[in-house]
């Protein structure tokens, strides 16, 4: 190795370390150390401002498993994911395919469907709350016009969560549509033409032969990110239902928020956060597995 190369290697080593140091310090400070503290806290009965804190072993986790509020909130969160996932992915795929074929109106539809992604969800949640208001909202005014009874979307226990899911789909649709559009644009036009020459004439044939299999990696990716986003539902609950009515829209993060930052049961909230993290890491593991497979074509 020449002297230049040696010197270059030394420079690279030190500048490399220098360049990553600020990032790594911040990462330690804002993620890694808090993560360790969180794990520690989850085995204590720490409460903010409390004088004596002692280790309680796995009592917090045992409490969570037995806690009807936690069990309900986890169940509600998974149910919410189960509604949002097919809705936000399936509809986004449909819209993306229809929009992809437009030439002049494509930009128009793109803007409209993407609008909810950029708008402040809290403000729009307030608007939704008003839209769905049993007496004042236009949705119920419309139902009355058709001769139906008023529906209290947000104060019927069995309707609150599905209603939140519809708002969730409304918010996510445009995001997923853009991902699907990118996936569709990546499919070469030649393939469709070759398929046409080969006899794939109907839209269904083209979809089954080309679009669907080639869009599969994108679809998997969109499904995982949608699951993660839906699993993190908090904003709409905080504004529109606050977990009610009768706990029917209590979700995991809202529960963590209440325990940790309203009741200041830090130790218990830490345990709940650890459970939350386990779910997120599971989704992420699926995601990296999916991304591995994506490199195929």
């Amino acid at each position: 190795m020449s002297a230049f190369r040696l010197r270059q290697a030394r420079i690279e080593r030190w500048t490399g370390l220098g360049f990553v140091t600020p990032a790594m310090l911040l990462f330690m400070l804002t993620s890694l150390i808090p993560l360790a503290v969180l794990l520690g806290l989850s085995f204590t009965n720490y409460e903010l401002g409390a004088v004596d804190t002692k280790s309680v072993g796995t009592a917090n986790f045992a409490k969570a498993v037995a806690d009807p509020v936690f069990r309900r909130s986890l169940g509600n969160t998974l149910l919410y994911v189960a509604i949002v996932l097919p809705g936000a992915v399936g509809l986004a795929l449909l819209i993306a395919i229809l929009v992809h074929g437009r030439r002049r109106s494509r930009g128009f539809y793109e803007v409209i469907y993407f609008l909810p992604v950029t708008s402040t969800l809290i403000a729009m949640a307030t608007v939704w709350q008003f839209l769905l208001h049993p007496r004042l909202g236009p949705v119920n005014a419309f139902l009355r016009l058709l001769g139906f009874d008023e529906v209290a979307f947000l104060s019927e226990p069995h309707l609150a969560l599905p209603t939140l899911a519809v708002v969730g789909i409304w918010q996510l649709l445009g995001f997923n549509m853009v991902l699907f559009l990118a996936g569709l644009s990546a499919i070469s036009k030649d393939l469709y033409e070759a398929a046409e020459v080969d006899g794939c004439v109907s839209g269904l044939d083209r979809f089954l032969t080309i679009t669907w299999p080639l869009l599969m990696p994108t679809t998997m990716f969109v499904m995982v990110t949608t699951s993660i986003t839906a699993f993190k539902i908090f904003d709409t609950v905080a504004v529109m239902t606050r977990g009610g009515p009768m706990g029917s829209s209590e979700v995991l993060l809202y529960n963590v928020y209440l325990e940790g930052f309203q009741y200041f049961h830090m130790g218990y909230a830490a345990a709940l956060t650890v459970i939350f993290l386990v779910f997120i890491l599971m989704f992420s593991a699926i995601q990296s597995f999916v991304l591995e497979r994506r490199t195929h074509y």
């Binding site: 393939l191 033409e193 070759a194 046409e196 020459v197 006899g199 004439v201 299999p213 195929h296 074509y297």
Partner: protein
């Protein structure tokens, strides 16, 4: 097997005309090449024949039947794309079998899962497998049948694309620059393979390329296109020997033809640059024109030989030695700023900077008018009166 006829086919988008009044009659079993610079409309034309794009006006007939209302697969033509357009998620076998499954199985026999219940599919698939295998054998890609396109080399993909076209026994093969994604060596090899394939299949080939060598070496006939029109249609030899247009002359042949400006003198006499010799034409006196001389039409005159024929005084600027032959680049002394290339068997002891005399036969001159159209060189002996007037 099919005869393909195009009758005044035109295509325009909004206000740009891509093709104007194309007439072509392609015989059954012919290998016809559409050649021209990029943007000349050749790709659009082949896509119109395939049915991938509609023409604005005009008619296309296959075996005498108008096919303008038919979708691509109903025209029974096969297309090989520049990008090969292999389905990346399917095996080579599935790629090649697709046209047949589309033809022979109904929709529900093709839908995943549902198709497992079809007894007919179980009967038809072995047939299809046999046919695909026999085509694969012809192309020597049998060992590749279970691979994905991503695992193939460029040449192998090319063969798979050909195979997918062949399994259907189409009326005609349409090929849109099929070799341009291959490296130079493989391209030369595939040229001969395609030619042999055409001879074996005896099917009509319509082939699009921007590479004049492909056009010259493979085709029965060549249609040279420019700006949406066919400039000349003929055998490769005709296009080379009697280009009807300056653009054809310049496009066909490598190295390109040497073009020199001339002016038409009184009585249609044309003074050749730097030379006492003259030719005669019917072009109007006073107009500008140009002459074309193929690199092999020029030769070095031994020093001291008589200079009464058509000659050019030139200074050697550069030598390109290709081994078997060499290209000599000359600056012309009589026409500053112009040069010619001469194809020679050897360097003949020349050195750069040397001044020489190049001679050529008047019969080898291609004359083009100001618009680039070919003009006839008339024998001077036929007009003794003018000859006397011009050479006092």
């Amino acid at each position: 097997m099919a005869r393909v006829e195009l009758e005044s086919v035109s295509k325009s988008f909004a206000d740009t005309t891509v093709l104007s009044g194309i007439n072509l009659d392609i015989a059954d079993g012919e290998f016809l090449t559409l050649v021209g610079p990029s943007g000349c409309g050749k790709s659009t034309l082949i896509r119109i024949i395939a049915g991938l794009e509609p023409q604005t006006s005009g008619q296309i007939r296959i075996n005498g039947e108008p096919v303008d209302h038919l979708r691509p697969h109903e025209r029974r033509v096969a297309m090989v794309f520049q990008s090969y357009a292999l389905y990346p998620h399917m095996s080579v076998f599935a790629n090649m079998a697709l046209p047949l499954t589309m033809q022979r199985l109904s929709l529900w026999e093709r839908v995943p899962l549902l198709r497992l219940f079809s007894a007919r599919r179980r009967r038809v698939m072995p047939e299809i497998r046999r046919e695909v295998q026999s085509v694969a054998a012809q192309l020597q890609i049998e060992p590749l049948l279970n691979r994905r396109p991503a695992q193939l080399s460029g040449g192998q993909r090319q063969r798979v694309a050909l195979g997918r076209a062949m399994v259907r026994h189409p009326n005609a093969f349409l090929m849109d620059e099929p070799l341009s994604n291959l490296d130079a060596k493989l391209r030369v090899h595939m040229r001969s393979e395609l030619t042999e394939l055409h001879q074996r299949l005896k099917t009509t080939f319509i082939y699009v390329t921007h590479d004049q060598v492909e056009a010259m070496t493979m085709s029965d006939r060549v249609a040279m296109m420019d700006a949406g029109r066919i400039l000349q249609l003929g055998t490769p030899a005709e296009l080379y020997a009697r280009p009807s247009n300056l653009k054809v002359a310049q496009f066909i042949g490598s190295p390109a033809i040497n073009v020199l400006p001339v002016r038409i003198g009184d009585g249609g006499m044309v003074e050749l640059p730097g030379s006492p010799a003259m030719i005669h034409t019917s072009l109007p006196p006073g107009s500008a024109a140009s002459i074309g001389l193929r690199p092999e039409a020029l030769h070095l005159l031994p020093s001291g030989s008589p200079r009464d024929g058509a000659v050019l005084n030139a200074r050697l600027r550069r030598i390109e030695n290709l081994g078997a032959e060499c290209m000599l680049h000359f600056d012309l002394l009589a026409l500053p700023g112009h040069g010619v290339i001469v194809r020679a068997a050897s360097i003949k002891g020349l050195s750069v900077g040397e001044e020489v005399v190049l001679g050529y036969d008047i019969a080898s001159i291609h004359l083009f008018d100001a618009k680039g159209e070919r003009a006839e060189v008339l024998p001077i002996s036929a007009h003794p009166a003018q000859r006397e007037a011009a050479t006092p």
